[in-house]
Amino acid sequence: MSEAPLLSLAIWIPILAGLAVLATGGDRNAPLARVLALAGALVGFAVTLPLYTGFDTSTPAMQFVEQHRWISRFNIEYLLGVDGISMLFLILNSFITVIVILAGWQVIDSKVAQYNAAFLIMSGLLNGIFSALDGVLFYVFFEASLIPLYLIIGIWGGANRVYAAFKFFLYTLLGSLLLLIALLYLFFASGGSFSILDWHQTSLSLREQVWIFLAFLVAFAVKIPMWPVHTWLPDAHVEAPTGGSIVLAAIALKLGAYGFVRFSLPITPDASHELSGLIVALSLIAIVYIGFVALVQEDMKKLVAYSSIAHMGFVTLGFFIFSAIGIEGALIQMISHGFISGAMFFCIGVMYDRMHSRRIADYGGVVNTMPKFAAFFMLFAMANAGLPATSGFVGEFMVILGAVQSNFWVAFAAATTLILGAAYTLWMVKRVVFGKVANDKVAALNDINAREFTILALLAATVIGMGLYPQPFSEVMHSSVNELLRHIAVSKIQ
């Protein structure tokens, strides 16, 4: 099994499955499309598992490497590989794809094949992003992954989807251009290589590094998103169908953060140090400012979207305090946020499917009619508020501990999330779940069915499991994170 091209399989099985689903055609064959999509997602998930079991934790080197010539003239290669930083994201992504296919099972009843195909293809492309070690290959996957997301929002989205897609487009356009320019510059600076690993060794002056860092920053900050380029996210979430929101929150937001660890930190270490104050400041603004903004949201999806931005603030903060506990905390926060935000959006979707409203004011007393659902929702809300014994605690805890060591007041500002995160999440829970039955619509709610129960139980088990025993997640990162720290510590200025 170790000889099998696992990474290629992880990329192409979902894509081919997506094409096969697409081939089932119109909605007459919807049941077939669903089954086929689920099979594709499950197989896709299954092939990522050996990445973990076969992973060698002792080495920071890239593993499961595949190398083929692609465009020889420019030394562009089909170069894949994962290390302790990226490996878990393939598994997370493939797991979330299964969840997403299940989440749309009974809900999506028009253009079923296209819907499922879009998710499968996107899943493959996202796996490509996390395993590409060639700059051009990365860029191709990075940009291509946007297309399915556009389509998902644009076709299955809400009333205002055009504005949301347009806003998203405006934000990402500039970032993509600057990313491309930076990649081309690195191609020349490295003497004609597109290998990301070569770029890690390329020496650059501080001036060059700063410009490249800023170009990366624009590209990645939009994706994360960091304040102040975050306003597309709440709109995109509000318009996206449930599955779209899950993937957007669970995986798409991680791309920018992944870019920081794969590109910015190792390629421009001196600039990273030079500009770390800026990133830390932006991260803290995301945590505090967005925390307050989330508090007053009236739409549940917007609230969770804003809370995602605040949680991603912990990720960027963790990266730029330059310590093992900070970076590993940030990576764990990324994975945990994938599960928790996915679960939160699914929960909102469960309610939306029944009530066709996301407005908090339309709810109240859901626990009276949906007790099983309320228990799950409560759990994920607590995880979102960073309660210990859930995965949400681990990353925040590590980043706060790391931050104390670098600067007490940074940690002070970051730790306000303990209060703000609990305030916005639990205030929403109070208004939505608790209380007397607010209206006839709530009174008529049916509790979750077996499919919804399965999804929620899977996510709940993961969230609690990771909270009680995060060691399996962090131990695969150690070598790679230490290697990354070594990179950051060594100046590239000559």
Partner: protein, 678 residues
């Protein structure tokens, strides 16, 4: 069995009970649910007893159970530290918990959430045990937050009541403010010591004396690192143990069912902060500044929360304010370096306060969920067991010699008197005055409930009117006794726990004061720098046995203060019951101040809750919508405007293009020539 297996058994048994009762709460019978929960907790009690015996024989345990996480140079483990302090806490927690479990069978008999309730209280027992048995800060924080979660769930147990779901949110958020300080303290501990294990931290702590941390500016002197750590950790304790100004959640927590008020909001969870500081004695001993902070906060809580107990009319709220005040006493003891006295008072208080709460619950049941003590009176005849156990609890609370509360409270008062710390003088005055206040409010309630005229069941209109204007309609239909109805004593499952709790309330102090305070029971668990803080040593010098202490107590100021408090309560509420109303009008401004609880709630709701919402709205509408989206949409419009300009050139007419080309050529040529000449 060895200590480790016993420890695992002690924590896992209640967890198993909680899981059975919780996960299957909708399918299993009530009997099965409460059997599982009670079985789990009873197992934990037995395990705790066995552990206690082994610890008394000198056995100790400090070791990991599993490795939670490693990162960089740090390793975080889940592990147990079993020493006398832990063993004592385990006994208190499991014993009170078991009593409350049994009591619940009677109290929650008619509640549809019966199984869920058992699941929660077993989960609480598990969490609290994890907290006290931890051997490191990380797990401490785990337990800390887990008990907070269960408290949240239980305060909001009757989730359709608006007041309950307001109270639980408030409790969680106020506790989070404390946790905010707590986690920063933990962060400083880790960065200073490189580990979160107690043993490692305590070993490293003496070397930290004199180290500073530059908190305010870079050129300043800096703050003592240990002071910063201790104050931050104590802020966590202030949240959990409800010290001023983070006390506001505890009175509101009475929205929860009475058994959990006894277990969580009186006997165990709220004492977690006290336990934590005692556990951290090797750190706190190194910072006089932090100890002064602790003693002042405790003194303020002890006295001023006691005042509030005087004017409450809800039976549970009187006991709640009494709890706040007694937590203040424990905190004062911590500040005076009398950690063992604090733990001693924690223990006796756990028994007599759980007793008082459960007795209050028994009264509430008898009164069909009427909680207003003005509508009670003369219940002694109908509830003899509740009456006598309440009397024992109240006497213990006010510090009557020979009762358990006397020994613990008197030790605290003596220790504070001997303390030389800045702030100790104020603290002494406050807790001495507090003795009178405690006696007064305790017996005001006792007399109003059990003695005097029967004021219940003779006014049918009062019942309806009360229910109508009271938002907090209870979970069952009854509210007060109907006309002519008489209260009945509660069933055995209720009265037996009362009797079992009355025993330690009465006699525990007499037997344990000597080993606990002056023996070597806590010798290796609590560290006191006797040179710097000699209070406990002086106490030991003056101690000549528990009996002598009680005799001496009869002649001391606290006893007479307490006696006069009781006498005043008797005079005002039994002898001349028309006087309190008169006093109320005479002292109107003072009454209004107390009625509004010193305006803490209103201040927090306006400034913090209101301010946060206002700020959020401002940042959202002003920052996100107007400025950021303004720029984004503006740039979109700018692109559109540029495009419309360009469109002007794309007219599709050949001569336009030709003209433009010629014009452009001319411009270029002119420029080239001009530039070339320069």
């Amino acid at each position: 069995m060895d200590l480790k297996s016993l420890s695992l058994l002690a924590v896992l048994a209640p967890l198993a009970g909680a899981l059975v009762a919780g996960l299957f709460c909708r399918v299993i019978s009530r009997t099965l649910a409460h059997s599982a929960a009670i079985g789990g907790v009873a197992t934990a009690l037995v395990a705790s007893l066995l552990i206690f015996r082994q610890v008394a024989d000198g056995a100790r345990l400090n070791g990991p159970v599993y490795q939670w996480l490693t990162s960089g140079d740090y390793a975080f483990e889940v592990g147990f530290l079993i020493d006398p302090l832990t063993a004592s806490m385990m006994l208190v927690v499991t014993f009170v918990s078991l009593m409350v479990h049994i009591y619940t069978i009677g109290y929650m008999r008619d509640d549809p959430g019966y199984n869920r309730f058992f699941s929660y209280i077993s989960l609480f027992t598990f969490s609290m045990l994890m907290l006290v048995m931890s051997n490191n800060f990380m797990q401490l924080f785990f337990g800390w937050e887990a008990v907070g979660l269960v408290s949240y769930l239980l305060i909001g147990f009757w989730y359709t009541r608006p007041s309950a779901i307001f109270a639980n949110l408030k409790a969680f958020l106020v506790n989070r403010v404390g946790d905010f300080g707590f986690i920063l303290g933990i962060g400083l501990v880790l960065s200073a010591c490189g580990t979160l294990d107690y043993a490692g931290v305590f070993a490293r702590a003496p070397a930290l004396v004199g180290e500073t941390i530059a908190l305010f500016g870079t050129d300043g002197e800096g703050v003592s690192l240990l002071t910063a750590i201790c104050v931050l950790l104590f802020i966590g304790a202030m949240g959990k143990s409800a010290q001023v100004p983070l006390h506001v959640w505890l009175p509101d927590s009475m929205e929860g069912p009475t058994p959990i008020s006894a277990l969580i909001h009186a006997a165990t969870m709220v004492t977690a902060g006290i336990f934590m500081v005692a556990r951290m004695s090797p750190l706190f001993e190194l910072s006089d500044a932090a100890l002064s902070f602790v003693i002042v906060i405790g003194a303020v809580t002890a006295l001023f929360m006691g005042f509030l107990g005087i004017i409450q009319n809800d039976i549970k709220r009187v006991v709640a304010y009494s709890t706040l005040s007694q937590l203040g006493y424990m905190t004062v003891a911590l500040g005076a370096s009398a950690y063992s006295a604090a733990i001693f008072h924690l223990t006796t208080h756990a028994f007599f306060k759980a007793l008082l709460f459960l007795a209050a619950g028994s009264v509430i049941m008898a009164m069909h969920h009427e909680q207003d003590i003005r509508k009670m009176g003369g219940l002694r005849r109908y509830l003899p067991i509740t009456w006598i156990t309440s009397l024992i609890g109240s006497l213990a609370l006010i510090g009557t010699p020979l009762f358990s509360g006397f020994y613990s409270k008197d030790s605290i008062i003596e220790a504070v008197a001997a303390s030389t710390l800045p702030g100790a003088g104020f603290a002494y005055a406050a807790i001495i005055a507090g003795v009178f206040v405690t006696a007064f409010y305790s017996f005001r309630m006792f007399f109003l409930v059990f003695h005097g005229k029967e004021r219940f069941g003779h006014d049918e209109k009062a019942h309806d009117a009360h229910a109508a204007h009271d938002e907090q309609a209870t979970h069952d239909e009854h509210h007060g006794l109907a006309h002519g109805e008489k209260p009945h004593e509660s069933p055995l499952v209720v009265t037996v726990p009362l009797l079992l709790l009355a025993i330690p309330s009465l006699g525990l102090g007499l037997f344990v004061i000597e080993p606990m305070l002056f023996g070597d029971w806590f010798a290796d668990a609590i560290f006191v720098d006797a040179e710097a803080h000699p209070a406990m040593r002086e106490l030991a010098e003056h101690f000549h046995g528990a009996g002598a202490m009680a005799l001496h107590g009869l002649a001391s100021a606290p006893f007479w203060l307490a006696a006069s408090g009781v006498a005043l309560a008797w005079f005002l509420y039994l002898k001349r019951p028309e006087l309190p109303a008169l006093l109320k009008t005479r002292l109107q401004p003072l009454y209004v101040l107390l009625e509004n609880k010193y305006y803490f709630d209103r201040f927090y709701e306006t400034v913090f809750a209101g301010g946060a919402r206002l700020l959020g709205r401002g940042l959202w509408q002003g920052g996100d919508v107007r400025v950021i989206d303004g720029v984004v949409n503006g740039s979109a419009r700018l692109v559109g405007w540029c495009a419309s300009l360009l469109r002007f050139f794309q007219s599709g007419r050949i001569y336009h293009y030709a003209f433009t080309m010629i014009f452009g050529l001319l411009v270029l040529m002119t420029l080239t020539l001009w530039v070339g000449r320069v």
